[in-house]
């Protein structure tokens, strides 16, 4: 890997201070190539906190695609079942979001929220803002569905549900 540890990614990362290992540190761990350090990376919360905002990629003098690496590391962590506790609500949210998209073709907010809450059992989280959101028309009771939901199914079948793709 081309990283020469200048630290510009960490300097610009909005979540670095919350991460177990900030991006440049993570790159160094990977650079060593040892299994031990790979386990540290997979079990860290860094890979789950990453927002894929691409600030690091935009600034990196060596043009290393850290967000893409984070994607890979997340997949790998799930596969090896080395999940940091912080990852649980994050994975729950991602799954709920994808469920909504798979079923309706769009984001169904109430469906997403309920699904997320049942997954995490964190029923009271952000409950206070629900009424004002409802009044502002941000929460619809019934989902809006797209016309061609079959093609959405097909996309899912070809990507996420296709084991080969997942492994890649």
């Amino acid at each position: 890997m081309r990283c020469y540890q200048c630290g510009k990614c960490t300097a610009g990362c909005v979540l670095a201070s919350d991460m177990n290992y900030p991006p440049s540190y993570l790159m160094r761990l990977l650079q060593t190539g040892t299994r031990q350090n790979m386990d540290k990376v997979l079990a860290s919360n860094s890979i789950w906190l990453c927002l894929n905002c691409e600030n690091c990629l935009g600034r990196c003098p060596m043009e290393i695609d850290i967000p893409k690496m984070m994607d890979y590391l997340r997949t790998q962590a799930i596969k090896e079942n080395k999940l940091h506790p912080d990852s649980k609500p994050i994975i729950a949210f991602h799954r709920s979001f994808l469920d909504s998209v798979r079923n309706t073709g769009r984001l169904y907010e109430i469906g997403l929220v309920l699904s997320y809450k049942f997954r995490t059992f964190n029923f009271l989280q952000d409950l206070a803002i629900a009424p004002s959101m409802y009044l502002k028309g941000k929460l619809h009771l019934l989902p809006e569905k797209i016309k061609d939901r079959r093609s959405m199914k097909r996309i899912f079948a070809q990507t996420i549900e296709n084991a080969k793709t997942v492994n890649k």
Binding site: Q5, G7, A11, R59, E63
Partner: protein
């Protein structure tokens, strides 16, 4: 029948490891016209050369083929050996069995067969070789130095002190270059101008140096020892022979708000100006782009103030031609501006400066007379951040190389700041500290230990303005990537050193090669650092790559010695690989029909008209003739000649044909 000697070299194991050299010698030995063929471990060694010499005498050889390395390596060696044995050196040819065969192929039957073919081609060529005499050309013992920075100044003085004439051409109105802009120099902190200006004056007063300021090279023709340089003397609009340099015109000039180049844009200057007080020559020029008279046709205040009537409004650029024997390129470098950095504010924040601008702030002759003050409000910055590697070592920005000088000047800047602002706090963000050089590392340690400069290892991701402060978002990678945020009053970027603008065009004018970043390329990275690939043109200073003052001065002196060595010859010996127009017995005289297609094709203006006259002086025919001094042997004329009357000596059509046919006749 020819008697050709063939000598196959093992080159240690370089050739023999993949080529069956004994078989090559054996098979070539059986060729028609080959009188002698052997192989030996090192042909270039003394015993190897002795084999050649003895064989020439013993077998009365009339041609020699050495199958060894590239002719660029050892052709002179073997030709000299032949000459010592009494054989015309141009009857000796080399077959490149190393670079063209053994190094690029695996060991196999085919590799050996290719080697045989290569030697066979050369044997057939040598059969057609004719004895040639080398060409002698005179040397003009006058040097042209392009660029009047410290490199050009040093090279000019050194050449001039060997007793040869020097023409020094400088683009700006004064010599001095970047060094005159610097405040103090690392690692001794001596004043840059104090050590430079005596040399500038010496240049101006030296009897052997002719100085052209405000001038640029227009074109360069010719070859080593015999260049013709056209120099454009840009119109200064001031008559230097009468101007006394009193400066009254400068004080009265109404156009006062032009950003001063000398102050790196921090100060202002007038339209008629002397770049800086110690300028050489200390006489003004008019900047026609900004002058009211040239812009609107009215003003002429300077003319009214001038007591000696030196203003020349209608003066035009003048082009002069100078004959020189050698050229030293010393055009220096430039630094990237702050506008190159989107993450550091695209140059829109006034208090984000380049290193060069900070030099001007710290300099006693600068816009603040040596006080460190913010350009935005004139306040003294209490917190200052220096960012090293700004642009350098950044492949994403297209500058992957290290600019070399920034580590040292950043340490110097931080030190100067601490010396001038005692309660100030300075931070340096760095990636690595590259302080290789005498007393350099000690200097950096001094900045860290004695002057308490805060060195943080990490790059800065972003600089932005908030409530009049510059927020610097960096990182300390030595703390495992802990983010560092500093509210600074001033940020100094050690911006990358890049090739000077126009260096690419200049290189093309001079036929000098350059690297992808437009720095001029040296002939060999280690053994020929001041030569270029064009004979007679030498390099000095940062036009070759970013370098500091001691290195630049050393290189300039090196280039000067190369020039002096060249000038120690009264004439130069050139390879006779030039074009010739054939001549035949009367009444034909030549197959040349005098169409002069060759003349239009020749890039070196080497084709002349030759008039063939009868005994009574009447003109019989006009044919082409090649000036052997100018011809570079490129062969373009040969391709253009419709009657096949012109040929390159040593590479005639007949010879090349023989080479090709040797392959086809197998």
């Amino acid at each position: 029948m020819s008697k050709i000697g063939v000598f196959i070299c093992h080159c240690g194991e370089n050739i023999s490891a993949t080529v069956d050299v004994e078989r090559v010698a054996r098979e070539i030995g059986g060729m028609e016209g080959v009188a002698h063929a052997i192989d030996y471990k090192y042909m270039c060694s003394d015993p190897g050369q002795t084999f050649i010499k003895e064989a020439v005498k013993k077998y009365g050889l009339d041609g020699v083929v050495v199958g060894a390395c590239s002719p660029r390596m050892h052709e002179p060696t073997f030709r000299r050996a032949c000459a010592e044995a009494g054989l015309n050196p141009y009857l000796c040819e080399m077959a490149n069995l190393r670079e063209h065969c053994s190094w690029v192929h695996e060991k196999s039957e085919e590799t050996t067969e290719k080697a045989i073919d290569l030697v066979k081609m050369m044997v057939e060529k040598v059969k057609k070789n004719k004895p040639l005499d080398s060409i002698k050309v005179p040397v003009t013992k006058r040097a042209l130095v392009i660029g009047g920075g410290i490199a050009g100044i040093q090279a000019s003085l050194d050449i001039a002190n060997t007793g040869h004439k020097v023409i020094l051409v400088e683009r700006d109105p004064s010599i001095g270059g970047h060094m005159s802009q610097l405040s103090e120099t690392f690692p001794t902190l001596d004043c840059s101008q104090c050590i430079l200006t005596p040399r500038m004056v010496e240049v101006a007063q030296h009897p052997n140096i002719k100085l052209y300021t405000y001038a640029e090279l227009e074109s360069l023709e010719g070859f080593i020892g015999n260049f013709k340089a056209k120099i454009r003397l840009k119109a200064k609009s001031v008559n230097y022979s009468t101007c006394t340099g009193c400066g009254a015109c400068i004080q009265k000039c109404p156009v006062k708000k032009i950003p001063s180049e000398f102050n790196a844009g921090l100060g202002t200057r007038t339209a008629i100006y002397v770049p800086f007080p110690q300028a050489v020559p200390n006489k003004p020029v008019i900047d026609r782009v900004n002058c009211n008279y040239y812009k609107r046709g009215a003003c002429k205040i300077c003319e009214k103030t001038c007591q000696v009537g030196s203003i020349e409004w209608d003066k035009e650029d003048e082009i002069i031609t100078e004959e020189v024997g050698a050229v030293v390129l010393a055009t220096g470098f430039d630094v990237k501006g702050t506008d190159f950095f989107p993450e550091y504010g695209y140059g829109q924040y006034k208090d984000v400066l380049t290193g060069l601008q900070f030099e001007r702030l710290a300099s006693a002759s600068g816009p603040t007379f040596g006080e460190i003050r913010r350009p935005s409000d004139g306040a003294i910055p209490k917190k200052i951040v220096f960012i090293a590697c700004a642009g350098s070592r950044d492949p994403a920005k297209g500058i992957p190389y290290c600019s070399k000088i920034c580590c040292m000047y950043t340490a110097k800047h931080a030190m100067l700041y601490q010396h001038k602002v005692h309660d100030g706090e300075s931070t340096v963000f760095y990636m690595d500290i590259r302080a290789g050089g005498k007393n350099y590392e000690e200097f950096v340690r001094r900045a860290i230990e004695e002057d308490t400069v805060n060195y943080v290892r990490g790059r800065v991701a972003r600089v932005y303005e908030k409530n009049g402060k510059l927020i610097v978002k960096g990182v300390d990678t030595l703390l495992g990537g802990e983010q560092v945020e500093i509210e600074a009053d001033m940020v100094v970027l050690a911006t990358a050193g890049v090739a000077n603008c126009g260096s690419e065009q200049l290189a093309q004018k001079l036929h000098v090669s350059y690297d992808p970043y437009h720095f001029f390329a040296e002939a060999h990275p280690k053994l020929k650092p001041v030569e270029t690939n064009t004979a007679g043109i030498f390099l000095a200073g940062a036009c070759q790559a970013p370098k500091d003052i001691p290195e630049t001065v050393g290189m300039a002196s090196g280039a000067a010695v190369k020039v002096a060595a060249l000038f120690s010859n009264d004439e130069l010996v050139r390879e006779p690989v030039v074009a010739v127009v054939n001549r035949l017995a009367p009444p034909l005289y030549s197959t040349c029909v005098g169409c002069f297609m060759c003349e239009t094709a020749c890039p070196y203006n080497a084709i002349e008209h030759e008039e063939i006259k009868g005994r009574d002086g009447s003109l019989i025919r006009t044919i082409a003739r090649v000036n052997q001094g100018l011809c570079q042997g490129c062969g373009t004329c040969v391709a253009f000649c419709r009657s096949k009357s012109i040929d390159i000596q040593g590479y005639t059509n007949e010879q090349v044909y023989a080479e090709v046919m040797s392959l086809l006749n197998d």
